[in-house]
C-alpha cells in the first residue's frame, strides 16, 4: 500500500464521522483556548507585578489546575464515545484485510490531524479572546488597563504539551482497544443484547443516606465556622448520593412503575418506562455527572456573583476609616504620621482586648475549641465615650454587653470568672475597627467600667489560654486629608516600617490599599467562577450532545420496529420527545434541587465571606438569575441535540 494512503484514509474518516469529530475538535480547541487564557493570567508576570495582582495570579493558578485535570478527564470521555461508535468500522477494515499496524497508522494520522486542528483553533481563539478576557478581568478588579498585546509563551507551551499528552493518551487507549480485539468481535459490537438492569437496593439505601446526610448538614449546621469545615464533605456526600440514586434509584422507581400493570400497559408509559430502564443503565453515571457539573456551575455562580455584587458595601463596612491599627503602643506610628506631614482629619483612640470564648447561657467560658465559639471585643467606658462622643459612666459591677448584629442578650447579667456583672445596656456606638467583621464567629461587645476591670478580663483569659492569650492593645483609627492611593500606600509603608523598627507589636489596616486587594480577590473570584462555569457548561453541553447522538443510533432500530408493529410516526415522535426530555431535564431539575438545598448553607457562609451582604434576597436573586441563564443555555443545547437525534432516528 502506498504511504499516501493512510493520511488520505484518515482524512476521509474524519470527514465521514463529522457528526462526532467536529464537536470533538471544537471541544479540544475550546479546552486549549481556555487553558491558554487561564494559563496566561496565572503565569503572566505583568499581572503578578501589578498592585494586588498576585491575588489574581494565585486564583488563576488554582483555576488552571482545575481546567488541566478536568480537561483530561473530559477529553478522554468524549474520545471513548467517539471510538465506541467506530468499532464496527475498524472491524470492517480488519475483515477487508488491513493489518493491525495499518489500522494503527490510520488512527495515528487521524489523531495527528484532529490534534493539529484543535491546536490551531484553540490558539487562535485563545490569543484572540485572551486580550478580551484580560480586559474583563481588569475591569472586574478595577485596575487600569495597560496598553499593548502580549503573547504569553509559557502558556502556549503549556497548551501544546497538555494537548499532546491528552491525545497520546487517547491514542494509546484506542490502539489498545482495536489491537486487542478480534475483527468479528469488533463487527458485532453494539449488537449484543443488553441485560436488564437489576435493582441494587443497597445502593439505593446508600444514596438516600448520603444525600439525606448532605442535605441535613446544609440545613442543620448553623454556625458558619463549622459550615466552612463541613461544607466540602457534605458536597461529597451529595455527589455520592446523586450517583447512587441516578444509577440504582432510577431503576428501582422504574421497576416499581412497571409492576403497576394498569399504569405500565398504556402506550406512552409502556415504551418510555422500558426504554428508560435500559437507558438509565447505560447513562445513569453520565447523567449524574451532568447533574453534579450543573450544580457546581450554579453554586459557583451564586457565590461569586453575590460576593462581587456586595463588594462595595462590604469594603465600606470593613474599612470605616482610612487607617486602623491595633498596637501595644501607638507612639512610633504617631511619629511616623507626623513625620510624613499628613494632616489628620479625625481620629479615635481607645484600649481594647479581643479574644475567643463561649457563652454557656449567661456564663462566659474560656474555651476556643468548639464550633459555638464567639469573639469577645472588650473596652472601657472611657473608650466607649471616645467613640460616641457622649460620656458613659458605668457603676462598679455594671457592663454594656451586646452582639455586633444588634441582637439583645436575653440574660440580665453575665458571669466572667468569679465576677457577676450586671448588664445595663447593649452596644450603640459607631464601629471604627472593621476587624470585627472579619471574624467568622459572632462578635460580642463588652464595655467595662475601668481600665482595672479590662485588665482583670485580660488575666481571666490569660489563665485559660496561656501563650495563646490575647493582650490589651490600643486601637487607633484615623482619616488623613490625603486622597491619592499612592500617597496613602506610602504612608502605610512608613507606619509599618516605624512599628517594625520599634519594639512595639501590632498591625495596621489601610482601607485604601486593602480595598484594592478586596477588589482583586473578589473580582478574581468572580472571573474564576465565570471561567470555570463556562468550562463546565460547555462540557455539560457536549456530554449531552454525544449522549443523544449515540442513543439516536441505538434507538433507530427500535423505533423502526415500533412503526412496523403499528405505532404511528406522530406517536413515535411524541414518545421520543418525552424520553429525551426526561433524560435531559432530570439532571437539570436535580441540580436545581441540590442548589436549593445548599442555599441556606451558602447564605450562612456568604454572610461571613461577604461582610454586610447578609441579604438573603440578593443571594436568591443571584441564584435564580444563574439558574435562569443556565437553563436557557441548556434548553438551547437540548433543541440543537433533539434535532440531530430526530434526524438520526427518523
Amino acid at each position: 500500500m502506498s504511504n499516501r494512503l493512510y493520511p488520505r484514509l484518515a482524512l476521509s474518516n474524519l470527514r465521514k464521522n463529522s457528526r462526532f469529530v467536529i464537536p470533538y475538535i471544537l471541544a479540544g480547541g475550546g479546552a486549549v483556548a481556555m487553558l491558554y487564557i487561564v494559563g496566561m493570567l496565572a503565569m503572566d508576570n505583568g499581572l503578578g507585578n501589578m498592585f494586588a495582582g498576585y491575588w489574581v495570579s494565585l486564583l488563576m493558578a488554582m483555576g488552571l489546575g482545575v481546567v488541566l485535570v478536568f480537561g483530561v478527564i473530559f477529553m478522554l470521555y468524549i474520545n471513548s464515545f467517539l471510538q465506541r461508535q467506530r468499532l464496527r468500522e475498524f472491524g470492517l477494515y480488519a475483515v477487508l484485510g488491513m493489518e493491525k499496524r495499518h489500522i494503527a497508522l490510520v488512527l495515528l494520522f487521524e489523531t495527528l490531524f484532529s490534534g493539529l486542528a484543535m491546536l490551531a483553533l484553540g490558539l487562535a481563539a485563545g490569543l484572540g479572546l485572551g486580550k478580551l478576557a484580560f480586559l474583563v478581568l481588569l475591569r472586574l478588579i478595577r485596575l487600569p488597563v495597560p496598553l499593548g498585546f502580549t503573547v504569553c509563551v509559557p502558556a502556549l507551551a503549556l497548551c501544546a504539551a497538555w494537548l499532546g499528552g491528552v491525545l497520546v493518551l487517547s491514542l494509546l487507549l484506542n490502539l489498545r482497544r482495536v489491537l486487542t480485539a478480534d475483527p468479528i468481535q469488533l463487527l458485532y459490537q453494539g449488537r449484543k443484547g443488553e441485560r436488564e438492569p437489576r435493582t441494587r437496593w443497597l445502593l439505593v439505601l446508600l444514596g438516600l443516606l448520603t444525600l439525606g446526610g448532605g442535605y441535613a448538614v446544609a440545613w442543620l449546621v448553623t454556625s458558619p465556622v463549622a459550615l466552612i469545615l463541613v461544607f466540602f464533605p457534605a458536597a461529597v456526600l451529595v455527589i455520592i448520593g446523586t450517583y447512587c440514586l441516578f444509577t440504582a434509584g432510577s431503576v428501582a422507581v422504574l421497576k416499581a412503575l412497571r409492576r403497576d400493570r394498569r399504569y405500565y400497559y398504556r402506550p406512552r408509559h409502556f415504551i418510555t418506562v422500558s426504554g428508560l430502564l435500559y437507558r438509565m443503565k447505560q447513562n445513569a453515571a453520565g447523567l449524574a455527572s451532568i447533574c453534579v457539573l450543573s450544580t457546581m456551575v450554579l453554586v459557583m455562580m451564586i457565590c461569586t456573583v453575590s460576593l462581587y455584587s456586595g463588594i462595595s458595601r462590604s469594603l465600606d463596612m470593613r474599612y470605616p476609616l482610612q487607617f486602623c491599627g491595633s498596637m501595644s503602643d501607638i507612639t512610633p506610628a504617631r511619629q511616623a504620621v507626623e513625620a510624613s506631614g499628613a494632616r489628620i482629619l479625625r481620629q479615635y483612640e481607645y484600649d481594647s482586648i479581643a479574644f475567643a470564648a463561649q457563652l454557656a447561657d449567661d456564663v462566659l467560658v474560656p474555651d476556643a475549641t468548639a464550633d459555638t465559639v464567639c469573639e469577645i471585643y472588650a473596652l472601657t467606658a472611657e473608650g466607649y465615650t471616645t467613640l460616641t462622643g457622649k460620656t458613659l459612666t458605668l457603676e462598679p459591677g455594671q457592663i454594656l454587653f451586646g452582639s455586633l448584629e444588634g441582637e439583645t442578650f436575653p440574660w440580665p447579667g453575665l458571669t466572667i470568672g468569679d465576677t457577676r456583672w450586671e448588664i445595663v445596656g447593649g452596644w450603640d456606638a459607631p464601629i471604627v475597627d472593621g476587624r470585627v467583621y472579619a471574624y467568622m464567629a459572632p462578635v460580642y461587645y463588652l464595655v467595662v467600667p475601668t481600665r482595672a476591670d479590662l485588665e482583670a478580663i485580660e488575666r481571666f483569659q490569660q489563665q485559660a489560654y496561656g501563650e495563646h492569650a490575647s493582650a490589651i492593645a490600643t486601637v487607633w483609627a484615623f482619616d488623613t486629608a490625603w486622597t491619592e492611593t499612592a500617597d496613602i500606600a506610602a504612608l502605610k509603608a512608613d507606619i509599618e516600617q516605624a512599628v517594625e523598627n520599634s519594639d512595639v507589636s501590632g498591625w495596621i489596616d489601610c482601607g485604601a490599599t486593602d480595598r484594592q486587594e478586596g477588589y482583586a480577590m473578589y473580582g478574581g473570584f468572580l472571573f474564576l467562577g465565570l471561567t470555570l462555569g463556562l468550562v463546565f457548561l460547555l462540557a455539560t453541553a457536549l456530554i449531552i450532545y454525544y449522549k443523544q447522538v449515540n442513543e439516536g443510533y441505538d434507538d433507530r432500530h427500535r423505533f423502526h420496529i415500533l412503526q412496523q408493529v403499528g405505532m404511528s410516526h406522530r406517536e413515535v415522535q411524541a414518545t421520543i420527545r418525552s424520553q429525551v426530555l426526561t433524560v435531559f431535564f432530570l439532571p437539570l431539575l436535580t441540580a436545581g434541587i441540590h442548589t436549593a438545598a445548599a442555599f441556606p448553607a451558602m447564605t450562612r457562609m456568604l454572610s461571613v465571606l461577604g461582610i454586610g451582604t447578609n441579604r438573603v434576597t440578593l443571594y436568591a436573586v443571584c441564584g435564580l438569575a444563574a439558574f435562569g441563564v443556565f437553563s436557557l443555555i441548556y434548553v438551547g443545547v437540548y433543541a440543537l441535540t433533539a434535532r440531530v437525534y430526530t434526524r438520526i432516528v427518523g
Binding site: K192, R195, E196, Y265, R266, F270, Y278, G566, S568
Partner: protein, 255 residues
C-alpha cells in the same frame, strides 16, 4: 370471500443518481381468500419484498390498488395507517424484530398496548396463545435469553394477538436452523387450520411447500402458480423444485 384483492400493482423506483427507472413490480394481480395459506416465491430482487411492503402499507404502489376486506389501503389517511396495520395485519419478520428492552410477554402484548386494550382483555388473550406457541414458561425471559426459534415464536405471538385478518410473513424461516424452521412451519399450519389467513413471502422451497397455494414471482411479474390440493408437503416440495428449475431456465409462463 376474498380477504385481499391485488389489482394491477406497479411500482417503479428512481435510482438515486440520474433518472434511471427500475421496475420493481409490473402489473401484479392476485387475490387471497379467507382462510387461505399463500406463499409467494421468488429470488432476491424479484420484487417480492416490495410486494410485501405494499401489502403491509409500509410502501405505496406507483399504480394499481390493494383491497383489504374491500377497503382500498391506498385511500387510508397517513395518520391512520399505523392503527390500520395494528388492527388488521400481523407481521412476522426474518430477523424477528423483537424489542430487546421488553420481555417476551411484553413483546407479544405490544400491539395490544398500542391499541389501548384494557389489561383484563390482555390477560384473557395471552395464555391460550402462549400455550399454543409453547411459550408459557418463557414469557418472563428477554429476547437475548432465548433461542432464535423461540424468538420467532414470540414474534408470531405478537402478530397473532391482535387477531388480524391477515398474517404477513417475510422470510420467516430465514434466520432459523432446520429444526426451529420445521417447528415454526408446523405452527403456521396449525393457525391456518384454525382459520387464520396467512401470506408468506419466501425463497425457501421447504417453507413454501407448507402453503396451500404458491405464487412465483420473477422480475416483478407473476410467473406461475401451484395449488397443493391434497398433496403432502413432500410432493409439493418436488413440484415447487421442478417449477423453480423451469423458471430459471426461462420456461413456464403463468397462464
Amino acid at each position: 370471500m376474498n380477504i385481499l384483492q391485488v389489482e394491477n400493482l406497479k411500482k417503479t423506483y428512481t435510482t438515486r443518481f440520474g433518472g434511471n427507472l427500475v421496475q420493481a413490480l409490473s402489473d401484479v394481480s392476485f387475490s387471497v381468500e379467507e382462510g387461505e395459506y399463500l406463499a409467494i416465491m421468488g429470488e432476491s430482487g424479484s420484487g417480492k419484498t416490495t410486494l410485501l411492503n405494499i401489502l403491509a402499507t409500509l410502501d405505496k404502489p406507483t399504480s394499481g390498488r390493494v383491497l383489504l376486506d374491500g377497503q382500498d389501503t391506498g385511500h387510508i389517511h397517513a395518520g391512520r395507517l399505523a392503527a390500520f396495520r395494528r388492527d388488521h395485519l400481523g407481521f412476522v419478520f426474518q430477523d424477528f424484530n423483537l424489542l430487546d428492552t421488553f420481555s417476551l410477554r411484553d413483546n407479544i402484548l405490544l400491539p395490544l398496548v398500542l391499541a389501548n386494550t384494557p389489561v383484563r382483555e390482555m390477560d384473557r388473550r395471552l395464555p391460550p396463545l402462549a400455550e399454543s406457541l409453547g411459550l408459557e414458561k418463557l414469557l418472563d425471559k428477554f429476547p437475548y435469553e432465548v433461542s432464535g426459534g423461540q424468538k420467532q415464536r414470540a414474534a408470531v405471538g405478537r402478530a397473532l394477538i391482535t387477531q388480524p385478518r391477515l398474517l404477513l410473513a417475510d422470510e420467516p424461516t430465514g434466520a432459523l436452523d432446520s429444526h426451529a424452521a420445521d417447528n415454526l412451519l408446523r405452527i403456521f399450519d396449525e393457525v391456518n387450520q384454525l382459520g387464520q389467513t396467512v401470506l408468506m413471502v419466501t425463497h425457501s422451497t421447504k417453507a413454501a411447500s407448507h402453503a396451500k397455494r404458491v405464487l412465483f414471482i420473477k422480475d416483478g411479474r407473476l410467473y406461475h402458480q401451484l395449488y397443493r390440493a391434497d398433496q403432502t408437503p413432500e410432493q409439493m416440495f418436488a413440484r415447487i423444485s421442478d417449477t423453480l428449475s423451469a423458471i430459471a431456465a426461462g420456461g413456464v409462463r403463468y397462464e
